[in-house]
């Protein structure tokens, strides 16, 4: 697998801040992977996200996108076209007051010919399941729908990677499900690399890889099963574990040996049923 985004020993301090937001982050995000970055507020996860398409530039170290250094200003448009960003507040990233005009915004900026813009707008709205809303006013849509429009707006640039910077934080459970299933589908069907920044543990359950950040560093890195079975360490970083793991962990402590990597509800139920059956 080739590398989509590579960070090397990135350090960054916000102007006027006492401690660094990123304190030596080195990681390579593989092309086509679905990676989730977890961390409490202030852990540096959002700062890391903003490094991925040159919204922020490292004070020390470097970030490169498909080999392009983000500090090279001449490559700025090329980098941003390849790595699209979806932000937290759905209202503050919609530019136009008609859905299709908003989705067309990026290709317009890139100077794409009108016919091709039309094709891209239709394809992007189709990919996020919002075909029927082409001429709607975005401010009347639900939070989940607005975020899907934002994703479509990014897709219209034909990016290789989408970074969702806490894009689900302000949504209700239904909106969150809409957004998640949309990006999962894009990842699976179109091979788009996804970097999802969140503090909802359950969103990480079927990721390819989970990174946990704390104090501006990556403190855990592995598959969801590997990361979530380290219950104590997760709690120390101010995170919780999914209820499934929480239950299994407690049963272990009650003297009932349980695998901690049964993440999904069904896996967890199977593990418990098996354990009880063995006993009997």
């Amino acid at each position: 697998m080739s590398v989509m985004i590579e960070a090397e020993n990135v350090r960054f301090t916000y102007p006027g801040a006492a401690s660094p937001a990123l304190d030596g982050v080195s990681v390579a995000i593989e092309r086509g992977a679905f990676t989730v970055v977890l961390g409490h507020n202030g852990s540096g996860k959002s700062t890391f996200a903003k490094m991925c398409n040159a919204v922020l530039l490292p004070d020390e170290g470097s970030v490169s996108v498909e080999g392009m250094d983000t500090r090279n200003e001449e490559l700025l448009l090329a980098i941003r076209q390849r790595v699209g960003m979806v932000f937290q507040n759905p209202d503050n990233q919609i530019v136009a007051n008609v859905v299709e005009e908003d989705v067309a915004f990026a290709p317009e900026n890139l100077g794409v010919p009108p016919d091709e813009i039309r094709r891209r707008v239709d394809a992007s709205l189709h990919a996020v399941g919002m075909d029927e809303f082409v001429t709607h006013a975005p401010h009347l849509l639900s939070g989940g729908q607005k975020q899907r429009i934002a994703i479509a707006g990014v897709l219209a640039m034909r990016p290789d990677c989408i970074v969702l910077d806490e894009a689900t934080a302000m949504l209700d459970p239904m909106g969150r499900r809409e957004v998640l299933s949309t990006v999962r589908r894009l990842n699976r069907e179109q091979g788009i690399t996804v970097l999802l920044i969140t503090h909802h543990m359950n969103e990480a359950e079927d990721a390819d890889r989970v990174l946990v950040m704390d104090d501006g560093r990556i403190v855990m890195d592995g598959t969801p099963k590997e990361v979530f079975s380290r219950v104590e360490q997760l709690r120390d970083t101010g995170l919780t574990v999914p209820e499934t793991v929480e239950l299994l962990d407690r049963l272990c402590q009650d003297g009932m040996p349980m695998p901690l990597d049964a993440l999904s509800v069904d896996e967890c139920a199977d593990a418990i049923a098996n354990a009880l059956a063995r006993k009997g």
């Binding site: 409490h40 507020n41 202030g42 639900s142 939070g143 934080a169 302000m170 209700d172 459970p173 239904m174 909106g175 503090h199 543990m201 359950n202 101010g238 995170l239 919780t240 999914p242 209820e243 499934t244 929480e246 239950l247 407690r250 049963l251 009650d254 009932m256 509800v265 069904d266 967890c268 139920a269 199977d270 418990i272 049923a273 354990a275 009880l276 006993k279 009997g280």
Partner: protein, 288 residues
């Protein structure tokens, strides 16, 4: 239990006389007992936001009544402000309402409107700050210097400082991280424990509801779908799921275990209870 709020056949219709006319709340009746911790759940658009804005007189019912301590809150429309002091409403993302130069002054806004002053004002501001876990030295800061979670606390204190009899919280933990959510809910639980005040909690997080409340109202399409204790409501998990609502994760695991033939009672919906039940099953299956 003596009821503090009585809602009788409440209907609220938006945009009357236009093609957009619709009922946001339709013929809703329920009572809230003094000191009760009531949870309200339902989809976005199920009518819960409209409903709670009736309880402190921000909205006026199209039909029906809201009674506070047995009195119709609209009996004297000029005194509706007194109702707002007695029924404190904290909106979603309340940090966006902060405006004063210092946190102290912002918390004092409500009590000053109430006519409090001097030592009495100082006491209720400091009490409220303590309840939400703000430190003394943070009171002199500008609210805009605080972190996201602290701003939320300051805004919550602004309502608590009015010392309302009923506190309504609309998604108080939305957007906070797990630790922020847990500590804020702990503050709210402590407030309920210490002051014995009535609390209405609107939340999308079933786990939060399951862990905290005495009773749950489930709203769907402008009406009340269920009204009962958490065991009563969550034992109807399948029904909740088919209404498009979430259920606590522990209840999902319980359903999956039941499907595998394990004898888990229907009213199990917390990790604690589930843990107990599994240990019980384990003991029962100890080989002879």
């Amino acid at each position: 239990m003596e009821s503090i709020l009585q809602i009788r056949h409440l209907t609220h219709t938006y945009s009357i006389g236009t093609p957009f006319e619709r009922d946001a709340v339709r013929d809703v009746s329920f009572e809230v007992g003094r000191g009760e911790f009531l949870g309200i759940i339902g989809h976005t658009g199920s009518g819960k936001s409209t409903l709670i804005q009736h309880l402190n007189g921000l909205l006026r019912p199209t039909e029906g009544q809201v009674l506070l301590s047995g009195r119709d809150i609209w009996a004297e429309p000029k005194k509706i402000r007194d109702v707002r002091f007695r029924v404190g409403l904290v909106f979603q993302y309340p940090e966006y309402q902060l405006f004063e130069e210092t946190v102290y002054k912002d918390i004092a806004f409500g009590p000053v409107n109430q006519g409090r002053q001097g030592a009495e004002l100082d006491r209720c501001v400091r009490d409220a700050a303590r309840l939400v876990g703000l430190r003394e030295d943070q009171l002199d800061k500008s609210p805009f210097e605080l972190s996201g979670g602290q701003k939320r606390r300051a805004a919550l204190a602004g309502v608590l400082a009015m010392e309302p009899d009923v506190l309504i919280l609309d998604e108080p933990t939305a957007g906070l991280d797990p630790v922020g959510r847990e500590t804020l809910m702990e503050n709210i639980r402590a407030y309920h424990r210490e002051q014995g005040k009535t609390i209405l909690l609107v939340s999308h997080s079933m786990d939060e509801i399951a862990r905290n409340v005495d009773r749950i109202l489930v709203m769907k399409s402008a009406r009340i779908l269920m009204d009962g204790t958490p065991p009563e409501v969550f034992s109807r998990s399948e029904e909740l799921l088919s209404a498009g609502l979430d259920i606590p994760h522990a209840a999902r695991i319980a359903i999956a275990l039941r499907r595998r033939g394990l004898d888990i009672p229907p009213d199990v919906y917390t990790v604690d209870a589930l843990e107990r039940e599994i240990l019980r099953l384990r003991k029962e299956t100890v080989p002879c």
